[in-house]
C-alpha cells in the first residue's frame, strides 16, 4: 500500500524508508514517524477494538494520552501488549498486531457486545448474571474474564535488560515544550545543574505541531536550535524519550528513559529502559496541556480525533487521516487546525463551531452555533450529522473529524502528593492547585496560560525564580516575538440528548453510564469513577475526566468545581514491570553472601541452602549415598563419634567495646554479664521490651572493655539494629562502641570427642581442660602466628570449639583443619546435621525463639535476673507470661520408634477431642536422630515441666499424622553435659 495520506513537509526523514507490519500486512513509513502516523499515512484509521463493546477504534490523540490505538508491539518474548501506537517510534522491521478481538480487526466476533450494550452498562456485573447462582463461578465469570482485558502476554521471560539509576540536579525541568526549553536556556546559562526531560523523541512539544514562528524561525526550528545550544552546556543534561512518571517526597522524581525502545533489539549489554531516580533541589513542571474531546452520539469512530492531534499529524508527521475532514469546536483553537489542514491541501468540509459568534473563514465554511449530533461508518467515519443554528440538519461526508472542547492543563504531577487542582473559569478547566510538591513551580500551558508567548515568558521567569532561591544569578533573556493568542473558549461538554457518546474511550464509558451512576446514587466523584471505571484505565482519564465531571455537575445542579475532581497518582504513563524490577531478577533478585569456605565446600560437592542471603552448606554428600538423610546421619554420627567441622561464620558477631561494655550487656541481656571474667564466655538471652524472647547467643569477654557478642544467623541484623538503638537512644551516656564483625571473621565449629586433639595440631596454645575449660575464650594464634580467636562453646552438645581467623584466611584454615583432622576422619557437616545435633541436645533455635515465646516458655525463666534491670525483664514478669500451666519446652519422642513426629504437629491429650479448644501445645523442631534411631522433636506443652513421661497424641491434620508420643526432657543426648566438659 502506498502512503496515500502522506502530505508535504513535516519533520520526517523521507530519505529513510522503514518497513513495518501491522496485523501481518507490510507497510512503509519514515524515520521520525510513530506507528500511528505511519499507519495513517498508509490510509489505516482502524487500529484497535474497544475494551468492552469491541467497537472499532483509531487514534484519538497523537501522544501519550492515547486511549484507543493500543497494539501488541514486537513479537515472541519481546511482545509488549497495550503499547500506544501514537508514541511507538517507528523502526525498520517493527511488527505490531491489533488486540482485543476475536477474529480479525475488521470482523471482530465480540463486536456482538455492542449490540448487547443495554446489558453491559456501568456496573453490569453487580446486577446481571445473578441467576442461577452457581452459574456465576462456573460459567459467567470465566466467560467474562476470558473476554476482559486488552492485550495478551507472551508468557515468556523478557530477554532484555533494565537498569536503575540515580541523578542529581539543581533544577529538573519536566517537559521540553516552549516553556521547558525557555526555562532550560535560562537555567543552563546560569551555570546550575539542569536536567531537561521529555517523553517525546523530539524536543519542542507543541512547537513541532504548529506552524507559527518564534522570532524569525518556525517553532520547530527554534526548538531544534535551542536544544542544540543546550547540548553545548556541560551543566545541562538533555533526556529524550524520558517520562517523569511521578513526584515523590523531598524532590525525588522517578523517570523512565526508553533507551532502546526505538530499535528492534537493544545493543548487546545495553538496557531497554532505565528507571532514574532524580534528586532535584527544585523542579519546574512544564507538562503542557491536553485537548478535550466533545461528547456526541458515536463520537468514537476511527477518524474522529482531537483537533490538535489532527494538526500534529499534518504538521509534524505530514499525514492526514483522510482527504476530507471536518472540525467540531467550542473554541478558537479548533479553527487553527482547519486553517493548517487547509494549507496542507486537505479539504475542509466544514468547521462546526458551537458558538454563535464563531470566527469566520474565507477558505472554508464555518457553521456557527452548530453541533455534530451523530456519525456513521462501520469501520471508520464516513458521515457526520450536523444540527445547524437554525435547527435544520446537514450531513457532512468526511473521513475524519477533529474535536476541540478546550484544553486541560496537565497538572498530574502536582497531585502526586495530594495536591488538588483548582478551577480556572477563564479556560473552563482545572489548573494546578495552591499546594504543590515541595520545590515545584509550574510554567507554560500547565498553568493554564496557553499561548506560546506566555509559555516562553513563564518558563523563563519560573526558572530564574527557582534558581535565585538556590543562590544562582539567573539572567533574564529577551523573549523572541511569537504567537500570543488569548484563550477564547465557551464551555461545551456534550451534545444535548446524546446517550452513547463516549467520554472514556479506553474503558468504554458513555454519557449514559454517567447518568446511570448518578441515578443509582453514585454521585461522589470518587464513586462515579469506581462505579463507571471512568478514568481508571492506563490513560488515567487524561481525555475523559472532565467530560464526566461536567455531566455530573449538570445532573447535580452544581458547578463543576462544586462537584470536585479526582486527583492523579503515579505513574503518569504506563510503566513496564521490567523497569521497576531493574536488575533484581532471577538469581540476582537479591545479593548472595558466601562464607569463607564456599569455594572449598563446592569442591566437596556440598549441597547449599539459602539462609537469608547466605549460601550455607546443607550437607556434603559422598559417593554411594543415595538420600540426604543418609548423608546427614553419617555427618551426625561422625561428629559425635570423632570430630566434625562446620562453618558457622554466618552467626552474627558484634564487637562491643568501651568502658561501659559490660554494663551495656547487662541491659541487653536478661541474665548477668557484669561479673563475667575476662577469658570466659556466657550464654545470653535477649528479651524484647515486652518480655518476649528476641534472640540468644553468647558473649565472650576478651578484655575488661571488650566483648564479642554472637547472634543467630537470622537475627544478626535485627539484633545489631536493636543494640544500636539501645546504645544511641536509651543509654547515650554509656561509653560503648559497637560494630558488626560478622564478615570480618571466618568462624568454624570443631565438635566431637576428638576436637581437642585436632585443634592441638593447629592452635599455638595449651588446649588442656585446665588451661582452656568449657566456656573459655581467648585471643590466640594458630599455625605458628596467625591471629585468631578461640571459644570453647558447643551448639551440638559435644566437646566443641569455635575457632575464628580473619576472613581472608578462612579458606586456608578450613583446608588446614581438614588436613590436620585426617587422622581422626574429620567430617565436614552442614546445617542439617547441625540442626539434628542441636535438637538432640535440646538447644532452642529460630523455631523456638519464634516471637511468641518467653524465657519461661523456653525453660529459662530463672535466667531473667531479678537483681538488675534489663530490657524486657520487667514485662517478662507480667501475669500473663507467668501462669502455672504456661507452655514449657519439652522433648517429644514416638512411642513406636517407627512413627513420625512432624514439626508443626499439635499435642493433644491421649484421650479426648482433637480440636483447637483442647490443644495442649505443638512441636517446633523435629529430626531423625541417628543416635537414638527414631525421630525426636522439641515442642511447647502446657505445664510441660510437670508432664514428663506422659503419653499424648501428636496430630497433624494437614499431613494426616496422628502419632502416640511420650513427653521427655528436651535433652535427648548427654543431659548432664559431661561431653561438653570432657
Amino acid at each position: 500500500m502506498t502512503q496515500s495520506n502522506r502530505l508535504d513537509g513535516g519533520q520526517i526523514n523521507r530519505d529513510a524508508a522503514l518497513k513495518f507490519t501491522f496485523d501481518g500486512k507490510t507497510f512503509q513509513g519514515h524515520d521520525g514517524d510513530t506507528l500511528a502516523s505511519a499507519l495513517m499515512a498508509n490510509g489505516v484509521r482502524l487500529m484497535g477494538r474497544s475494551f468492552k463493546y469491541h467497537r472499532p477504534r483509531g487514534p484519538l490523540t497523537a501522544g501519550s494520552e492515547e486511549p484507543n490505538a493500543l497494539v501488541e508491539l514486537r513479537s515472541g518474548n519481546r511482545q509488549e501488549p497495550n503499547t500506544r501506537a501514537t508514541t511507538a517510534e517507528l523502526y525498520d522491521g517493527l511488527t505490531a498486531r491489533s488486540q482485543n478481538k476475536l477474529g480479525s480487526l475488521n470482523f471482530d466476533l465480540l463486536a456482538i457486545n455492542d449490540r448487547l450494550s443495554n446489558f453491559l452498562t456501568a456496573g453490569f456485573y453487580y446486577k446481571t448474571f445473578m441467576w442461577p447462582a452457581a452459574f456465576w463461578e462456573k460459567l459467567y465469570e470465566p466467560i467474562i474474564r476470558h473476554a476482559a482485558g486488552l492485550g495478551s502476554l507472551s508468557k515468556q521471560d523478557d530477554p532484555d535488560l533494565y537498569d536503575k539509576g540515580f541523578l542529581h540536579c539543581d533544577l529538573l525541568i519536566i517537559g521540553a515544550g516552549p516553556a521547558g526549553l525557555a526555562a532550560a536556556l535560562t537555567a543552563g546559562r546560569s551555570g546550575a545543574q539542569v536536567i531537561l526531560a521529555d517523553e517525546d523523541f523530539r524536543m519542542g512539544g507543541r512547537l513541532n505541531s504548529e506552524t507559527f514562528a518564534i522570532g524569525d524561525q518556525s517553532g520547530g526550528d527554534w526548538a531544534a536550535a535551542t536544544v542544540a545550544e543546550l547540548a553545548t552546556m556541560p551543566n545541562v543534561r538533555i533526556m529524550l524519550r524520558t517520562t517523569v512518571i511521578g513526584s515523590f517526597d523531598h524532590g525525588i522524581f522517578p523517570a523512565v528513559e526508553r533507551v532502546s525502545d526505538h530499535v528492534a533489539v537493544p545493543a548487546a549489554g545495553k538496557p531497554r529502559q532505565i528507571l532514574w531516580r532524580i534528586y532535584a533541589k527544585k523542579s519546574l513542571l512544564c507538562a503542557g496541556a491536553t485537548e478535550r474531546p466533545i461528547g456526541f452520539e458515536n463520537n468514537d469512530r476511527p477518524g474522529i480525533m482531537l483537533a490538535s492531534a489532527m494538526r500534529s499529524y499534518a504538521n509534524r508527521w505530514a499525514v492526514t487521516p483522510d482527504k476530507r475532514v471536518a472540525i467540531f469546536t467550542n473554541n478558537d483553537d479548533g479553527h487553527r487546525t482547519a486553517a493548517d489542514m487547509h494549507a496542507k491541501g486537505v479539504k475542509i468540509a466544514a468547521v462546526v463551531d458551537t458558538r454563535a459568534d464563531a470566527p469566520t473563514s474565507g477558505d472554508y465554511e464555518v457553521l456557527a452555533g452548530a453541533q455534530v449530533t451523530n456519525t456513521k461508518g462501520r469501520l471508520g467515519l464516513t458521515f457526520a450529522d450536523v444540527q445547524l443554528a437554525d435547527g435544520s440538519t446537514r450531513t457532512l461526508e468526511v473521513g475524519a473529524l477533529g474535536m476541540s472542547g478546550g484544553w486541560n492543563p496537565n497538572v498530574h504531577m502536582t497531585c502526586h502528593q495530594r495536591g488538588r487542582p483548582t478551577w480556572q473559569p477563564d479556560i473552563a478547566a482545572f489548573g494546578p492547585g495552591e499546594t504543590l510538591p515541595d520545590g515545584m513551580s509550574i510554567a507554560g500551558s500547565a498553568t493554564g496560560a496557553f499561548s506560546t508567548a506566555a509559555a516562553l515568558s513563564t518558563g523563563t521567569k519560573a526558572a530564574a525564580s527557582a534558581l535565585r532561591d538556590l543562590g544562582f544569578k539567573a539572567k533574564a533573556t529577551r523573549q523572541p516575538q511569537t504567537e500570543d493568542t488569548p484563550t477564547n473558549v465557551t464551555p461545551f461538554w456534550y451534545v444535548e440528548g446524546c446517550s452513547r457518546a463516549w467520554l472514556d474511550q479506553q474503558n468504554d464509558v458513555t454519557v449514559k453510564d454517567v447518568k446511570l451512576a448518578h441515578q443509582e446514587g453514585f454521585r461522589s466523584v470518587e464513586h462515579l469513577k469506581r462505579y463507571t471505571t471512568l478514568g481508571m484505565a492506563t490513560d488515567q482519564g487524561k481525555t475523559s475526566n472532565m467530560g464526566g465531571l461536567a455531566i455530573m455537575a449538570e445532573l447535580a445542579g452544581k458547578s463543576i468545581p462544586e462537584v470536585g475532581t479526582t486527583i492523579f497518582r503515579p505513574p503518569y504513563t504506563p510503566t513496564s514491570m521490567g523497569v521497576l524490577a531493574g536488575r533484581s531478577i532471577g538469581k540476582h533478585f537479591h545479593p548472595t553472601r558466601l562464607t569463607p569456605t564456599h569455594a572449598w565446600a563446592v569442591e566437596q560437592n556440598a549441597v547449599f541452602v539459602e539462609v537469608g542471603n547466605w549460601m550455607r552448606a546443607q550437607w556434603f554428600p559422598r559417593t554411594g549415598e543415595t538420600t540426604w538423610r543418609e548423608t546427614v546421619d553419617r555427618e551426625v554420627l561422625a561428629t559425635r563419634n570423632s570430630v566434625g567441622v562446620c562453618d558457622v561464620t554466618t552467626l552474627g558477631k558484634v564487637d562491643v567495646q568501651g568502658a561501659d561494655a559490660a554494663i551495656f550487656l547487662n541491659k541487653i541481656y536478661c541474665n548477668g554479664f557484669g561479673k563475667l571474667a575476662v577469658g570466659r564466655v556466657r550464654y545470653g538471652l535477649m528479651l524484647r521490651e515486652d518480655g518476649i524472647a528476641m534472640d540468644d547467643g553468647t558473649a565472650a569477654r576478651l578484655a575488661e572493655d571488650h566483648f564479642v557478642v554472637t547472634t543467630t544467623t537470622a537475627n544478626a541484623l535485627p539484633v545489631y539494629r536493636h543494640m544500636e538503638f539501645v546504645r544511641q537512644c536509651l543509654f547515650p551516656d554509656m561509653d560503648v562502641q559497637l560494630i558488626s564483625t560478622t564478615e570480618a571473621w571466618a568462624q568454624y565449629a570443631v565438635a566431637g570427642p576428638n576436637s581437642r586433639k585436632l585443634l592441638e595440631k593447629i592452635v599455638d596454645q595449651d588446649m588442656s581442660n585446665e588451661a582452656f575449660p568449657f566456656m573459655a575464650c581467648a585471643n590466640i594464634t594458630v599455625c605458628g602466628g596467625l591471629r585468631a580467636r578461640l571459644f570453647r562453646i558447643s551448639f551440638s552438645g559435644e566437646m566443641a570449639y569455635e575457632i575464628a581467623v580473619p576472613s581472608i584466611y578462612g579458606d586456608a584454615l578450613i583446608r588446614k583443619i581438614m588436613e590436620a583432622g585426617a587422622e581422626f576422619d574429620v567430617t565436614p557437616y552442614g546445617t542439617e546435621a547441625l540442626g539434628v545435633m542441636r535438637i538432640e541436645k535440646g538447644h532452642a533455635a529460630g523455631n523456638e525463639l519464634n516471637g511468641t515465646t518467653s524465657a519461661q516458655n523456653l525453660g529459662m525463666g530463672r535466667m531473667v535476673s531479678k537483681i538488675k534491670d534489663s530490657i524486657g525483664s520487667k514485662l517478662s514478669e507480667r501475669e500473663g507470661l507467668n501462669r502455672e500451666n504456661d507452655l514449657r519446652q519439652v522433648g517429644i519422642k514416638p512411642v513406636n520408634p517407627a512413627d513420625p513426629v512432624p514439626a508443626g504437629g499439635h499435642l493433644m491429650n491421649a484421650t479426648g477431642p482433637v480440636d483447637a479448644a483442647h490443644d495442649q501445645g505443638y512441636a517446633t523442631s523435629a529430626a531423625f536422630s541417628p543416635n537414638l534411631g527414631h525421630m525426636i522433636a522439641l515442642g511447647f506443652l502446657k505445664d510441660g515441666g510437670n508432664r514428663m513421661g506422659e503419653r499424648m497424641r501428636l496430630v497433624s491434620p494437614l499431613t494426616g499424622v496422628d502419632t502416640e508420643v511420650e513427653i521427655t526432657s528436651a535433652h535427648f543426648i548427654d543431659p548432664e553435659g559431661e561431653r561438653l566438659r570432657a
Binding site: K164, W614, I808
Partner: protein, 184 residues
Amino acid sequence: MHNLTPTMALGGVTDTIGTITITENSGMSLASVAARMGGEKKSALVLKKMLGEVPGPGRCQQHGLGAGFWMGPDQWMIGAPMGTHELLADQLKDLLGDAASVTEQTGAWVVFDMTGAAMRDAVELLCAVPIRTMIAGDTQRTVIHHLGCFVIRRNTDDHVRIIGPRASAGSLHHALVAAAHSVA
C-alpha cells in the same frame, strides 16, 4: 611466622569493559576507630598525626600510603597497605590506647577500584551518590544492589573506590560489571 595464605574475595579479578576498568584491590588492611567518651581529642590528635587531617563527614583523607574516612560521629575507617600494615588494628590500638575502640575490618570488606572515562556514567547506574559533583576525597555511604557500601572519589577524576561487604563480593562485582556494560 604462620603458613596460611590469605585469599582475596574474588581472587584479585580485573575486568575491562569499554573505557572502564574494575579491579579488586588486593592489598588493603582496614580497621575501624571509634573514639571513646573523653577520648575524642586524643583520637583526633592521633588521626591528624597519621593522616595530616582528621576526615570530617563525607570525606576521606589520604596521606602517603594510608587513608581514613569518616563513618559516623567520632568514627572512622582507616586503611593502609597490607604488606606493611597487616596488623593495622593492633598498631592503631597501640597509638590510641583507651582513647578509642579499634576493630580489625580487613576481612569484612572487598575493595574495588573503578576507573575510566565512563566511570561516572556507571556509578550513576549503581547508587545515589552525586558522582558528578563529588571532588577528590568525597566519600559517601550508600547502597549498591541492596548492599551497604562506601564510595570514595579518588584523586583522579575518573577513579572511584567502592568498598562493600566481602561475603557479597560476587554480587557486588556483578552489579559493577553490569553497569559498566550498560554504559560502555
